[in-house]
């Protein structure tokens, strides 16, 4: 149960970082407000709040990669992890200590996004609770990517890879800002092979009550969540041995 000690610390460090709050909460909410304003003037199907709201929650989750990657890489460079490796903590304590507290933070972020979307006209339905539950595997994908990159890269590299590259890549290939079918071809195929578009469609299907569409997207997301968790564990243990 030692992971709870590290978990408490992960929770506090993440929520006390003003940059995390600005990027993780502020940015998605500004985007939501801005695109809703555009939608009010120039109606676009994709920017209807029923489409945009669930999509932006996934965009917000992409910042979880940056948060967890920065925390791990800074703990490596500051030698805090080195200090902890000389204590009787076990590898599972570190991994759970970084991973588990990020899940309620992700849920909080998704909840706030849905709450703000409701202020912008999204109708309350009990299915929002289903959306929250189904956001967990998507959140795990982004968090474990953070653990993976944080274990292998330094904090400057993490800023570039997870802050700029990944958030853009996941946004383009998610179908939040434009319909991937409109681009078609290899782009559409790539989007369907990666988990981001499935994560967005999962949210949209759950919100709309389109239960038949849920399993096909959920399996993709769950598959990636399991695979990326395994990859993150490998990367963390690899850097632990290297130390």
């Amino acid at each position: 149960m030692k992971f709870t000690v590290l978990g408490k610390r992960t929770w506090k460090e993440t929520l006390r970082d003003p940059l995390n709050l600005a990027f993780g909460l502020g940015f998605p909410l500004v985007i939501l407000g801005l695109l809703s304003a555009i939608q009010a003037n120039v109606p676009v199907e994709l920017f209807r709040i029923e489409q945009l709201g669930p999509g932006v929650t996934v965009f917000g989750l992409s910042f979880m990669t940056l948060f967890s990657a920065l925390l791990v890489s800074k703990d490596r460079t500051s030698a805090l992890l080195l200090r902890l490796y000389t204590t009787p903590l076990r590898p599972a304590d570190y991994i759970l200590g970084y991973l588990l507290p990020m899940i309620p933070i992700a849920l909080l972020q998704t909840g706030v996004c849905y709450g703000f979307a409701m202020l912008l006209g999204l109708k309350w339905t009990v299915r929002i609770l289903l959306c929250l539950a189904l956001s967990i595997p998507t959140a795990i994908i982004f968090i474990t990517m953070g653990l993976f990159f944080g274990s292998l890269l330094n904090d400057k590299q993490v800023g570039g890879v997870c802050g700029a590259l990944l958030t853009n890549l996941s946004a383009w290939l998610s179908g939040i800002w434009f319909d991937v079918a409109l681009v078609g071809g290899a782009f559409k195929k790539l989007a369907a092979l990666l988990p981001f578009w499935h994560g967005v469609e999962l949210q949209r299907a759950a919100y709309a009550g389109n239960y038949a569409a849920i399993p096909s997207h959920l399996w993709w997301v769950l598959g990636y969540a399991v695979a990326l968790t395994a990859l993150a564990v490998w990367a963390f243990l690899h850097q632990m041995k290297k130390n």
């Binding site: 000690v5 800074k74 200090r83």
Partner: protein, 242 residues
Amino acid sequence: MNAIETKALTKQYKDVTAVNNLELTVREGELFALLGVNGAGKTTTIKMLSCLTKPTSGDAILLGKSVTGEPEAVKRLIAVSPQETAVAPKLTVRENLEMMAEIADCDKTEGKARIQRLSEAFGLEPVMKKPAGKLSGGWQRRLSIALALIIEPKILFLDEPTLGLDVLARSELWEVIRDLKGKITVILTTHYMEEAEALSDRIGVMGAGHLLCVGTAEELKAQTGKETLEEAFIALAKGARK
């Protein structure tokens, strides 16, 4: 009883032998300084003694426990204060200490008592509510050593504890380290000769993965025929390169 006893301790990285058949004994309660130029093998030695790296061959016995056979038991005896400050920057000084106390399985009452004792001993009271990342270098070093001590180790490894500190902060930290003498075993690595001379009971000089010489500062000077520890160290280190 010896606190540390190494037996032909060796670490090989591909074609480089970082530590070669090291035979070192440190007595309980002793403050032992390990000196060496960069690449001499002292960091690798500390990593093996603190179970961060497995030896390629040989063993080290810390208070009766083997680093190769019983690393978990060894980890319950030791603490490391790394060269970097190694604190959780957004947690307050108190929260940092509480975290380490909890890792050491302290119950709340015992944890509070230890925090009280250490905050008084290290003069941390004025900064207890401050985030650790906002502290000056000197305060962070104090906190770093306090974090190592809160788990009440029997053996403490201090890696370059005063690196980058100004004269005043260094002198204050020396007082803190001197205060530990006789209470626990301390292994100190440093590049400052005056620090090793002022603080340690005995000094070991490493070069090219070997232990070149062990003794008090006076013994090392006598052995090399030099007047200062720095001159003695340079003579030994140059000898190892030949």
